[in-house]
């Protein structure tokens, strides 16, 4: 019961919540350098998609986005960040796989700090973030075609 009380208390504190913003967490880029996630915010809206090498639907989603992105950017200025949550076991493999998505920006969250900070439970999990770093939409899971919904949300930001 005490635990529940703590839980409820924490929730009361948070009733003042507003739109979520992107947390300030460090990840590695494709070259292995440590960068801050906040540095990715540059006024351009973006899709942030969490994936791992052992998650087939994640790779299917990013393949689909990579296929369509060149068409999307003609309609609206945007970018896509693929966040790998692979740990030491598959990190090397993830870097190789990430190399295949030439239009996506790949970052590596090897101890899942960003995943935890953004409260991602299951992959794939995609976020739509506006140019100021506010999270405006998120979606977990992937079914072929659901990437279009993400693009629609980006377009609605205009």
């Amino acid at each position: 019961m005490k635990k529940l009380m703590i839980m409820m208390l924490a929730l009361f504190i948070g009733v003042s919540a507003s739109a979520q913003t992107l947390p300030d967490v460090k990840v590695e880029n494709q070259e292995g350098k440590v960068i801050s996630v906040r540095d990715l915010v540059d006024g351009t809206p973006m899709i942030i998609s969490f994936w791992s090498t052992t998650c087939k639907p994640c790779i299917a989603e990013l393949n689909a986005i990579n296929e369509s992105l060149y068409e999307w950017v003609e309609e609206v200025d945007m970018k896509v960040i693929a966040v790998s949550v692979d740990d030491a076991r598959t990190l090397n493999r993830a870097r190789s796989q990430g190399n295949n998505w030439e239009d996506l920006i790949c970052v590596y969250d090897k101890n899942q700090d960003l995943k935890r900070a953004m409260n991602v439970n299951l992959t794939p999990h995609a976020f739509v973030v506006d140019g100021n770093g506010n999270i405006v939409y998120s979606h977990s899971g992937y079914t072929p075609g659901s990437e279009i919904e993400l693009f629609e949300k980006i377009k609605a930001l205009k």
Binding site: S18, S68, T90, Q97, D113
Partner: protein, 581 residues
Amino acid sequence: MKKYLLFLGVALCATFCVNEASAQIKLGENGGQLSVSLDSNNIYYQEDKKLEEFNMDNKREKEFGSNNYLKVDYGIKRFSAGLQVDAFLPALSGYDISKHKFSSTYNTAFVALYAQWEHDSWGIRLGDIYDQFGNGLIFRAYEERALGFNNALEGVRFHYNYENYLNFKVLAGMPRIYDEVSDTLVWGGDLSLSFSDMLGWTDGLVSIEGGYIRRVLNNDETIVNKNHYPAKEFKEDVLNMISTRANFEYAGFSLRGEYAMKLNEDVWGANDDPAKGNVINIDFGYNYKRFSISGTFRRQQNMATPIMLTMYDREKHHIDAGAPVSGIADFGGGNSLNYIPLLTRQHTYSLASLNPYLGCATTTGGEIGGQVDIYYSWRNPKVRGKYWNFHANFSMFNSLDYTDPFGDEIKGKNAWIDANFDVERQWNKTLKTTFLYSYQRWDKEKSIAPKAKYVESHIFVGDVTYKINKKHSLRFEAQYLCSDDYEGDWVAGTIEYNFAPMFSFYVSDMWNCEETDYNYEQLNDKHYLMHYYQVGATFTHSNYRAQIAYGRNRAGYVCSGGSCRYQPAYTGVNFALTITF
């Protein structure tokens, strides 16, 4: 059950309330922000006479299992705080927390809290700490819900970075083991220095790193290992470990090496002989346009790092005061301070992961081997909708020489080989096919017998996705495992229908279609023709995801991120719910 409903009710109410609040009350940036997530996985276990008849180990041990995680985070400017409630009501079958608690029907919950302050160049965190040094060879505090592991450090961490080239962190605390905090003290520090950043060289990366970890057990008893013949006695208090690392990257080429060792003798895996340990891990990679190759070489010996060695808390574990304490108690896979994962490819197709490599370091203490991956993507730059993706992968691991508990010398030998090839072809906007071939060879004797008994299998998988229109799609999957040994041939198939972005339905089946000497002996009847069927549906809407499945599940190993746990066979209904705000 009542407890579960109460938990779910409160958790759901909490998440919905927050959703309402965040939708309605916008106080702007200064109000800070709240984020809540709920992850709940539940199984009703059904009685399955056929499964029990097939193998007595398949006896149902409980009617209901439920693993739940509620996470609440609040952040304002540089400050953040939060809590995570892990509730096992009771834990699902096969989770190692049941081993730790010596009960499969134990209801338990753990509340972890943290508070954190992040400044420009430094930060401090109190409470629940997740972190790792390098690859995690000496220290990794992490959470793996699919396996039920959580060894977060409950303590304090301070980090500091000077300019962009010096990073330093120190931490101290007591590691968590499943749902309790151990009384083992761990402290250490890690430093990294980037020469490339220091000299302003932006084309590549050159850095060196180093870390130190000290583990102090709260253990004043002499441990008698009765598994060892003759019985051995030892007293274990302190373990010191260091790790040294060097990283290099230039023009698509990368090389990363880590060497870690135990500075003093420590107990290890199989026969608990005190020994020094060491591990070397080398990763390389090369990318050129759409071609990439990467690989890992690793040799490890005696690098097990249990958080708890024995059932020394006699009261907690109901052990008589006078009874001798023997060996490392089986606290399961979550009882580890470091992280030395299996490096073989983790397959997503059921037959390719039917008998995964489980490592020989856990049985013999030592392992040497490596793996290589090659990726190539071929496509016409003008036509995005069509491409070929090729992927080949090879891995091989051998055991090292070791002395078994009876003093016999066992020579090192091959424990695992696999070679995989898969090709993915996007024909046009509507059709995509994947083909996978996997060859696997493993030692049924787990490397501990003088002579290995190899089981070879060839696995073929075909996977077709057909997009009917923008929203509707179908997926078919056919698999065949071909083997002359062990259980013989297996066959499996799946049909999936997706209605984007909300619904997905699937039906699958898998069965052992061949009679072998092994089957006949082990299963003494023709029940090897048992079907492991599944039907399921998933509903997703923005941040809500609900999944329901019914079926019979084969006993086997569930692996996630380089660790595995044994999953007993069961028939039942699985209901999973995930909500994030």
